[in-house]
Amino acid sequence: MDGKRTENAIKDRGKRWIRLALPALLLVAGIGFIYHVIRSKEGHPFKNPLIVLAVIDIFLLVTLFYLLFRQLIKGYLQWRRVKEGARIRTRLLTAFVLLGLIPSTLLLISAVLMIESAVDKWFTLPVHTVNEAGQRLVDASLDLLRTGSARRADSVAKQLEAVPEDLQPSFVSHIVKGGDIDAVWLFGSDGATIKEWPSGVMQVDAFKKRKCFSEDGLRGYIVLGDKSYVLSGSRVGSSRAVIVGYLLPEKMLTEARFIAENQKLYLQAKAERQFFKISMVSSFLALTLAVIFAAVWIGMKLTREISKPLQLLLEGTEEVSRGNLDLAIPYEAKDEIGTVVSSFNKMVDDLKESKREIVKSNQELREASEAAERRRHYIETLVESLNVGIVSIGRDGELLTANNRAREFLGLSKKDLPAKIVTLPVWQVIKDSLRDLSRHPEGRKEVTISQREETRVMIASLVPISDAEGEVSRSILILEDVTDLSRTQRIAAWQEVARRLAHEIKNPLTPIRLSAQRIRKKAREGAEDLHEAILEGTTTIEKEVESMMLMVNEFSRFARLPEVKLRWGSLSELVLTSAAPYQNAYPKVRFSFDLPEAFPQVMFDHEQLERVVKNLFENSIEAMKMAGEIQVSLSMTDKWACVSIRDTGPGIPHEIREKMFLPYFSTKKKGMGLGMAIVARILEEHGGRIEVDGSYAGGAGMTIFLPR
């Protein structure tokens, strides 16, 4: 930026020199030309003040015209190009020029008119008439002398013609001595003086002598000197001529000279009137031009000073609007404009700082965005490659996205999303499942989907996603294909059931077979104790069959758990209702309840949950050997309603805590080990769970979790 500015400054300086040098050259050439012309005509160019004035006028005029013309063209071009600051500069300059031009021009016109009028008044008719009259008086007086001298010259010439040439010189002396003539010159046709009387009066030049030989002769020439004469001459014969001179009366000559001198001054002044006017006009014109020139010059300077910072400001604003913030207006002043420029520079600095911060933030944002994009891509790839189906579900239950596995499960392609899903029959199945799942924030449900004659078993999990306001805006449905696992588990379960059944059936079958073999043996032997044997045997068989019946019933109950029917209800009531029979039946068992009055209602299946609670009570009573204390309390978390049941029995060993909810696991001598498995399954059907209370060390503690 600085380099560019320096380069521009050098260019501007070069242009300025050219702008100054060109007119200066023209001016020097013009002055040289004028000098040459004047010198050729006048000899010395500055001898005549009028010429000096004319040169000054021309110089000022040309300079002024050049300045104005240049500014006019420049202003016009800048106006057309809509250059910054051109309009205000042109306006200011025009105002300054007019301010100098109008009054100066008016003054000049007034001065010219006044000069014209004043000078003309000096030469009015009365003055002219008086002067002319005086001159005529002098002329008339001298004319008398001229005429007299001419007549006398003619008469002398005639007298001399009558005298022989050799006597003419003495005759001349005689005439002077005896007459009114003051001087006489007799000379030949070659100009040589023959007789001069009195001698040494004055030298008569050859022109006057030649004149005497002309037809008119010499008539009344006045020669002024210490002694002034009127000379007249005539030819004497063919080869001689005579000039007679009369002394001019001194007094008359003095007066005549005075009048003539005044007349001369008048005539000269009159002749120089025009030159006087010209010199005055030239002087005023030079003065006016100097004033206008000064006004224009000052105007230009002021205009430049005023408009330059404005122009810089406009250019700066333009640069800033183009986004260039690496600039500072190089203008320093203590006036208001300087303050504006300073504020502008500060504003640009602030903008630059803000821009830098924005760029930095933008960069960080972009990097974060790229990282997020990379993460998103990674997650997307990960999600796409997962072996579980992941489906994004909108607020209104519409399917938004689905990964590769999910599309495979649902029989969809990418282009089918998101609109087509609602028309798919499978969607209704998922939707129904979702309705149940939505009641359980972390619910999982096994869903069977039939698609293209293929049935898949899936574990559907629904994870709600909340927005910034905490509202659930969408949910993620996770579909885990457990078809193979389910089949395997089912086979394993059947194997286990078969094994258990075989085992459980095998146990009573042995005493039954042994009883039957004993009865047959006794009967074959005809033993006396046959009757007793029959009684004992049948009793054993009956007992074992009853045991088998009990076992069958247990299996049947486990297998035929009814579907949960959820409805709002009070857990406190449920607890109290469930505990009531045991409080009466076992007097050594003390029940204590911590049941908050304002405990909110929860959705559950009353019958099945009562079975769960009773099962837990029975286990505690049995573990405490019918004596002890059972504490029941209700509590609430943000998701769960909790029922805690603690007893004062021996507690649950750590090693069996993990296994106690599995079917057929039991520490009792009697029972199929299905009780806690049924409890766990019922709570699972509710979307809840049961956990061993590890924090309680006074006995066994179990906590039931139900969704709120």
């Binding site: 005509k41 002329d139 001298l142 020439y221 006045i222 005539l267 002749a271």
Partner: protein, 178 residues
Amino acid sequence: MRRSLAILLLVAAFTVQAKGPKVGKISCGFDNLHLFVTFSLSDGFLSQDVLDAINSTKPTTFTYEVEVAKKRTGWFDKTIGRRVVEKTVTYDNLTRQYDLVTAVDGEEKEKISLISVEEVEESLKGMTALDMGSVVDLSPGERAYYIRVRVTLLKNFVLWIIPSDEDTGWTEKELKTP
């Protein structure tokens, strides 16, 4: 603007010259390897303006410029010889005579008194056998030489400030060298 001013000056100068006197016949002769030039002004050269100037009693100078020049192609002509004769007439309103002083190349040669305007006109009308000097430097038979004469009668101004003398302009005549 400057162009307009220049045109105005040219037109003014042309008008002044067109209306003013002209140099009439120019004749030249050689005597003893000296060139002598004779020329006269056209009638009426003593206009009322000139007479008024003379009768104002201020010295009025008539300048006669006579040059021998050689034409050059594509360049200004070369001035070989030049004579400037100044005849200054001063009217004495006391004696009603005209003093005429003649100077050649600044050197006063003659001073006479004339009693009438006719005599003044006759004296100013032209020059007779003005000695232009030796012609030894001129190439014999060369046709590029010429004589040019200009007479300046009055000093004047155009538009108050522009000097514009009243003169005849240059009149040329071919010089045939012997």
